[in-house]
Amino acid sequence: MNKLRTGAFHTGMILLSLLWLGPVLWVVVMSTRSFDDIAAHGVGSLPRSFTLDTYRQAWTDGGELRALINSMLVTVPSVALSLGLAAMAAFALSRFRIPGRRTILLLMLAGNLLPPQILLIPVAKFSELTGLYDTLWALIAVQVGFGLGFYTFVLHGFMRDLPGEIQEAATIDGAGTAQIFTRVMLPLTRPALAALGALSFTWIFNDLLWAITVLRTDDNMPVTPALLALQGQFVSSWNVIAAGTVIAAVPTVAVFLRFQRHFVSGLALGAVK
């Protein structure tokens, strides 16, 4: 009876896993099929050819290389800046009796909970006004501004729970506020920073809406909107589109695999707080 139940559990879960991984594997396999093969047998058939030329086409002709560079140029500074600023705010708000600190914290969190739609038009207009429109700077700025509230809230919760004695000891040893922040608090906050870093990397890297709101030129597009453009460019070349999809997915998958534990604990961190 017990064996039967275990068997049923594994059969069911293997089928479910297949349902989740199957479509992904299908796309990976499709990215290595030749155009003639797909044209002759359809996207639903098993592969009868093998080529990697699709990746070259997506990479150079499709502009994925340029797009990946843009993505990194936006994502890396955005993650660093927003976590840095959020850590500063969280440190001051959690470790010092700043008047109105609770209101400030919740106001910042509220900003992150807003539906982005209410911000799209004003942000687009404001970036035009400042001459940032259609530059990666605009995208970095809005990603930092919009993400800050949530990161501050989570880091605040984390820093608040660190023991006060550590800070007192550092103060007695003559450390100033800046030193306490960089030498004591930041190292202690590393687990939370790693978790948020992994999460925010995928969020910013995967973003579509902000990119198509503040950018116009194809050459400036990060990889997510570029993938949509690729689809228009290679209308029926499903193998090239599939290769482009794989390329666009690789960086976040890599970050996930590298920071797996942090990533999952980051999601949980947001949930429990």
Binding site: M13, W20, P23, G42, G111, L119, T152, Q231
Partner: protein, 305 residues
């Protein structure tokens, strides 16, 4: 911790004296991030409300028209369709991802052989962007794609249709990939919540003769109250924000059959260039999200207290 916090909020005069001693560095630590968020979030949000009271094409300056945009919204059939679709989206996408995610978390909560692999499999799509998810599923829905091949294999070829191009099926064909990606995410949230439940509670209930269903109903679910609240907020906010997956699969078409408020707002703003009208749609989205946002903030407020 609580003691130190409560002393500060008693007498305003003491507070003022304290704030006088704040170092300029600390003020900067708060002010710089707050200013950045003000420039890119708070100020634009206020402008958004103002724009919703104007007629504006983006070139000439906006003209104030009062509530005209809202009056027009009330009679706009496309808007009403998008509103209904957003509600359907909320119920189906939200409801099913909570049920699916919770179910999967229950099934996979116990550490046993292969469980790590199953969890990872369900979680994999979460790291993909919604555009990647959309392209993966486009292959599935393509004429002669996987969906059609599967239906043919089991002899149901009469059901075959252009899934994304048929107004009858487009919305549901878009919800399915969104669910596929969301279930793993919700599962992780519930797994974290389940892990935090004291096993002694289950043990005690079992001693008292509670069966599996009773333990779920009277121990697990009440213990998950905190996680439930978060999941609910996340789901509602995510549903109202949903844009990428619809935009990459159908752009709200055909004939607005898969239009959500978010996609209608975007195309009204940046394709029809009716910025005032689009702002009014954005305000409606905000109002719909407001209850959830407030609930979330109240919870956060209590926790900080």
């Amino acid at each position: 911790m609580t003691a130190t916090i409560s002393t500060t909020s008693v007498i305003p005069t003491r507070r003022r004296r304290r704030s006088a001693r704040l170092s300029p560095l600390l003020v900067a630590f708060v002010l710089v991030p707050f200013t950045v968020e003000s420039i890119w979030v708070f100020w634009p949000a206020l402008q958004g409300f103002w724009f919703s009271l104007t007629r504006w094409d983006g070139m000439s300056p906006p003209t104030f028209v009062g509530t005209d945009n809202y009056v027009e919204l009330a009679g706009d059939a496309t808007f009403r369709g998008a509103l209904v679709n957003t509600v359907i989206w909320l119920v189906l996408f939200g409801g099913l991802s909570v049920l699916g995610g919770f179910g999967m978390a229950l099934v996979l909560q116990k550490e046993r052989r292969w469980v790590g692999f199953y969890r990872a499999a369900l979680f994999t799509p979460v790291v993909f962007s919604l555009v990647v998810t959309a392209l993966v599923w486009r292959v599935f829905y393509q004429p002669d794609g996987i969906a059609d091949t599967l239906l043919r294999a089991v002899g149901l070829e009469h059901l075959i249709r252009p899934w994304l191009a048929d107004p009858q099926t487009a919305l549901y064909a878009v919800i399915l990939p969104a669910l596929w990606r969301q279930i793993g995410y919700v599962m992780v949230l519930f797994l974290a919540g389940l892990k935090a439940i004291d096993p002694a509670l289950h043990e005690a209930a079992r001693m008292d003769g509670a069966n599996a269903w009773q333990r779920l109903r009277h121990v697990t679910i009440p213990q998950l109250k905190g996680v439930n609240a978060v999941v609910l907020s996340v789901i509602v906010i995510d549903s109202l924000r949903s844009f990428d997956i619809v935009w990459s699969l159908t752009k709200g078409g055909p004939y607005h059959s898969s239009e959500l408020l978010s996609t209608y707002m975007y195309s009204t703003a940046f394709q029809s260039l009716r910025l005032g009208y689009a702002s009014a749609i954005a305000v409606v989205i905000f109002v719909l999200a407001l209850a959830v946002i407030l609930g979330y903030l109240v919870r956060a407020f209590r926790e900080e207290a």
